[in-house]
């Protein structure tokens, strides 16, 4: 029996993950005071709520031109880049803490903005057990992705998405189900934030698990008390050893009678390596497929938005009216001769083609390729571990590299389109204003010379982190160090293969070379 494996088992048994550095941010008085403040969540959400109101307004009444519209530029450039480059890697689910998307639903459900009222408004049903997974989030994210070509170019389409996401869906779900079922099981953004938050430098954990175990009877963090609600994300903080489903809502910080909650800034952590504690949702195919979806779309989006494949961009433009060359028919433009007006018509052919590309690449090709590597791992390990377990557990090794691939994508869209953002800040509603003197800025990509270097740095870091993840996962799955290393080799090869594809897309696929 190898020493490392024993050490890991011991650490897991004690509930102590390995860290290079860890500091409880609640030791800082202002943060502690804020997180304990009952009104904190409203204060944190309020500015973002107003920004989202502005985005919805601008989507319908601002400029219909994508690169001159506040909604498009803030949602798909600023917000997306902020999520992938800063908020998720460094803050985990910190966005969920300040997210205005579920706000209306939650305020209605609770019947209060800042108070504690334990009798929910609405039906207060439990979320169905069979949907206690993230398949719905996978589906909602794929659904949104299938419209990405028009979401980023047609403001009204993004407006419709926002109305559905911010108003209609949350109200319905919050009034039917208790807690934040919408955030945990449906929200398309929450799924990938949860996945990547496991790689982040922020975590919420209990200070001492023994305290929770000894505290028998009424669990304030689960059921709530006069200071706050029971965990709206249906987690038990005492069992948290992964960030995946902790929304950092701060309720348990307020309710814990033993002051046993810590919000740690960390370097290290083992979210990607560990099996969840008993009582917490287990690793499953739903999470594995979320990894494949995100890893594949990081490449596909790069090709669609920056690659040298105009036909793919045409296909993704499901409202363009043009029939793409791929389908092999002459270009047809819907046109009203009477009014001399170009008509934007929904192209079912384009939509089905693009949807097919997305579904097949994310749900068939990527998992199938990874399954081949996972199977090789199982063979090379020489150990009797089920293929499903090998497949699922190793899929988490793709989390760092795919996050870094999104980083490479995000830095590109941010630096290429950043001048549009500076311009729109001066005239957010397309009224001819010039608030900051930037309304007449010409489009200007920034630091284009540096983009490939930054991207390659991201990918190199991703390979390192993913290799470490593959090794650590393998150590926990197999009973000796040699078998673990043998099993990790094909997964590291898969990681390097993925990295080479990403590099090829950016450097060899016509974007920069």
């Amino acid at each position: 029996m190898a020493e490392v494996s024993e050490e890991v088992k011991d650490a897991t048994a004690k509930g102590e993950a390995k860290y290079f550095f860890r500091y409880d941010l609640l030791r800082i008085p202002i943060i502690r005071w804020l997180f304990k403040l009952r009104a904190y969540q409203f204060i944190a959400i309020f500015p973002n709520f107003l920004i989202f109101v502005a985005l919805i307004y601008a989507a319908f009444f601002g400029s219909p031109v994508g690169n001159s519209n506040l909604t498009i530029l803030i949602m798909w450039i600023v917000w997306w880049a902020a999520l992938m480059l800063i908020l998720v890697p460094f803050g985990g689910r910190i966005w969920c803490q300040v997210c205005p998307i579920p706000a209306i639903g939650e305020w209605l459900q609770r019947g209060t903005f800042v108070g504690v009222r334990h009798k929910p408004i609405g039906l207060g049903k439990r979320w169905p057990k069979k949907f206690d997974n993230i398949w719905l989030q996978n589906a909602s994210f794929l659904m949104v992705s299938s419209f990405i070509g028009v979401l980023v170019t047609r403001p009204w389409v993004s407006g419709v998405l926002l109305v559905i996401l911010v108003i209609i869906l949350p109200i319905i779900i919050f009034l039917i189900f208790r807690g934040r079922a919408f955030c945990r099981y449906i929200c398309p953004i929450s799924g990938f934030i949860g996945l990547y938050s496991m790689f982040s430098t922020l975590e919420l954990r209990v200070k001492n698990r023994e305290t929770c175990i000894k505290h028998v009877g009424y669990k304030d963090c689960i059921r709530g008390n006069d200071k706050g609600y029971g965990c709206p994300w249906f987690e038990y903080p005492g069992n948290l050893n992964r960030n995946a489903y902790c929304g950092l809502c701060t309720e348990c910080i307020k309710t814990c009678p033993f002051d046993n909650i810590a919000v740690n800034f960390r370097i290290g952590g083992e979210d990607l390596f560990v099996d969840p504690w008993y009582g917490i949702k287990k690793r499953g195919l739903d999470e594995a497929y979320k990894t494949f979806i995100m890893a594949t779309l990081a490449i596909l989006y790069a090709i669609v938005f920056a690659g040298a494949y105009p036909w793919l961009r045409e296909v993704s433009n499901v409202l363009g009216g043009k029939v793409a060359p791929l389908i092999g028919k002459a270009v047809h433009v819907p046109f009203d001769k009477k009014t001399n007006l170009l008509i934007e018509a929904f192209s079912l052919q384009n939509y089905l083609t693009f949807l097919g590309i997305i579904l097949i690449s994310t749900l068939v090709i990527a998992p199938a390729l990874f399954a081949a590597f996972a199977y090789l791992s199982k063979i090379l390990s020489g150990r009797d571990v089920s293929f499903k377990r090998v497949f699922i557990n190793f899929s988490y090794a793709l989390v760092p590299i795919s996050l870094m691939a999104w980083g490479a994508f995000s830095i590109y869209i941010l630096l290429i389109n950043g001048s549009y953002v500076l311009r729109i800040l001066s005239d957010p509603f397309n009224l001819g204003w010039d608030l900051f003197g930037t309304a007449h800025l010409k489009w200007q990509p920034y630091f284009t010379w540096a983009i490939p270097y930054i991207q390659m740095a991201f990918i190199a870091a991703g390979v390192v982190f993913s290799t470490r993840a593959a090794h650590e996962i393998s150590l926990r799955m197999f009973d000796d160090k040699k078998a673990a290393i043998r099993a990790a080799i094909p997964i590291v090869a898969a990681v390097i293969g993925y990295a080479l594809i990403v590099i090829h897309v950016w450097l060899g696929g016509g974007v920069f070379l």
Partner: protein, 130 residues
Amino acid sequence: MRIGDIIALILLIIGVVAIIGGPMYYKSQAKEENVIEIRAKQWIFVPNKIVVKKGEKVTLRFTSDDVAHGLYIAAFGINEIVEPGKWKEVTFVPNKTGTFEIRCNIYCGEPYPNSGLGHWIMRGILVVTD
């Protein structure tokens, strides 16, 4: 209702009204000042008929919703090009009555090659009355 909820509700109402009402108020003010907004898109002007009074100063605020378009009114020497999402303003005093043509003076595409449609027949009218 707790005092905290009342404050939160007031803040929300003020915020939402300011964000939505502000631009709407600005737009309504612009209308009062004899400013006419024209939006161009492939391949029409909206509105495509503008009625103004002779001798009364008028400002045309011109934008494009898709590609670069022109605003060309030969009778009054107006000749502007606007990029998508940007605005151009032109102020003038109509000094003659009649119906005048507004045209796009930069090629902005056509539904299919050599169609004679699209850009080639993109036009509106400016009616100047007494």
